[in-house]
């Protein structure tokens, strides 16, 4: 185990590019996400309790559960971290100067490598698969039926929902355009191992994807997501124009150069890890409150 969950949550930033761009997605999920940092704060936020004795008990139980690798929470966090570390990020130190000012992409041009549609589509698909696997490690397989499970996924809210919005917008809509879901499904049906092996995300998740053979799992997982993903943007009023309107206040980018904007978001944010740690903490704290 690299770090305990309280340390991970205590170290979540309260500002920076990741927090700023996640905040821009509020229009798609109004009021759903607040950037709660600090483990005790998170316990108060999740449980609604303020008594120090209660918070101490929940904290202790949550730390015990997280420390047991068989419980799956560590694995879930490691999946979220791996997905975000796979892109070769600009160091956080170089992001520091961005706080509170509008960021010009031009100054990062030498570090930006737009992905071809195929590589971007693979990334989008693999992030969705990673999300599905991390959900199962975090929450198990709740209920007795597929409909119970899909009900849990479809009732995503708060950190989970804002992360899905992030995948749809930052890895789907901006780089691939409004028909990103259809592009993904059309592309995924023809994927071979060779296609996926070029992706750093694939290299990271193939060891944790169930069943030993990653490709069938990726394809069936995406098949399961298809109908949900297809209407995800329209159900939430997410359009490219709305997203770009939001982005203009924070990032200075050239119109039409959406591939560069996507590449910039990829290297300058870690929204999967950030909200993933918050999601795992929430499940952990809810369970701890149920077990003390």
């Amino acid at each position: 185990m690299s770090k305990a969950i309280d340390q991970l949550v205590d170290e979540l930033p309260s500002s920076g590019m990741t927090v700023r761009v996640l905040g821009l997605l509020d229009f798609a999920a109004p009021g759903q996400w607040q950037n709660t940092t600090g483990f005790d704060n998170t316990i108060r936020y999740v449980t609604g309790e303020s008594d120090a004795g209660f918070i101490g008990q929940v904290r202790q139980r949550a730390l015990t559960l997280y420390a047991d690798p068989n419980e799956g929470y560590q694995r879930a966090v490691s999946i979220y971290q791996m997905v975000d570390s796979a892109g070769g990020k600009v160091g956080l130190a170089s992001m520091a100067h961005m706080l509170g000012e509008k960021v010009g992409i031009l100054s990062f041009l030498s570090k930006l490598t737009p992905k071809e549609d195929q590589a971007q589509t693979v990334d989008l698909g693999l992030k969705l698969v990673a999300e599905m696997v991390a959900f199962c490690y975090t929450n198990g397989f709740p209920g007795d039926s597929i409909s119970d499970f899909m009900g849990a996924v479809k009732s995503y809210e708060k950190e989970n929902l804002i992360r899905l919005c992030g995948i749809a917008v930052f890895d789907g809509l901006i780089p691939l355009g409004p028909d990103y879901a259809q592009k993904l499904m059309d592309s995924a049906s023809g994927w071979s191992v060779d296609d996926l092996a070029k992706s750093p995300i694939y290299k990271g998740i193939q060891g944790v994807v169930p069943g030993g053979e990653a490709l069938p799992f990726v394809k069936s997982g995406l098949g399961a997501f298809h109908s949900y993903l297809s209407s995800f943007a329209s159900d939430r009023g997410i359009t490219l124009d709305k997203v770009l309107d939001q982005m203009r206040g924070v990032i200075d980018f050239s119109e039409g150069k959406f591939d560069l904007l996507a590449a910039f978001l990829d290297i300058s944010t870690n929204y999967m890890e950030h909200t993933g740690i918050q999601s795992v903490s929430r499940s952990l704290i809810q369970r701890a409150a149920g077990e003390i």
Binding site: G72, F141, G151, A152, P210, G211, G221, A224, Q286, R287
Partner: protein
């Protein structure tokens, strides 16, 4: 939709098989969370039950009204955390025939068969202690032995 459901079933079966193989076997005396699912209340009075978490010795669901989360329902095997039993004092008030205790200011729990903690926690501030007690009475506790 059928095809999607089948694909999902395959994917999730693989997840379960993989998860069950990873790491050493769990302590045998802790009841699997899936054993608790049938004890959860059935939907009633316009409220639905949405399962949200299932782990070794623990199962959890949300109580929803028109999609809004009103309360968190859970059953845990206290053999995995025996100190949880200490709050159920001898002679405590009973609910559904089982000793009860508060858990923080928003939770009400009962201890079934001196082993299983069944808890209802308010999520919506308007979900009262009386409603928590009423929903504790809705659990099918006969199977928890």
């Amino acid at each position: 939709m059928k095809k999607i459901a089948l694909l999902l079933a395959l994917a999730l079966t693989l997840v379960l098989v993989y998860c069950s193989r990873s790491g050493p076997s769990p302590e045998p005396q802790i009841a699997p969370g899936k054993n608790f699912n049938s004890a959860f209340p059935k939907p009633s009075a316009g409220l639905t039950v949405q399962f949200t978490q299932e782990k070794e010795g623990y199962a959890q669901a949300d109580l929803l009204k028109d999609g809004k989360k009103m309360a968190q329902l859970s059953i845990s095997d206290t053999d995995s955390n025996p100190s949880a039993r200490e709050k159920f004092k001898p002679g405590a008030r009973t609910i559904a025939g089982h000793p009860s205790a508060t858990v923080g200011s928003l939770g009400t729990a009962i201890l079934v068969a001196n082993r299983y903690q069944v808890q209802v926690r308010s999520i919506d501030p308007g979900f009262t202690a009386q409603e928590r007690e009423a929903w504790l009475n809705q659990f099918q506790l006969g199977g928890l032995k």
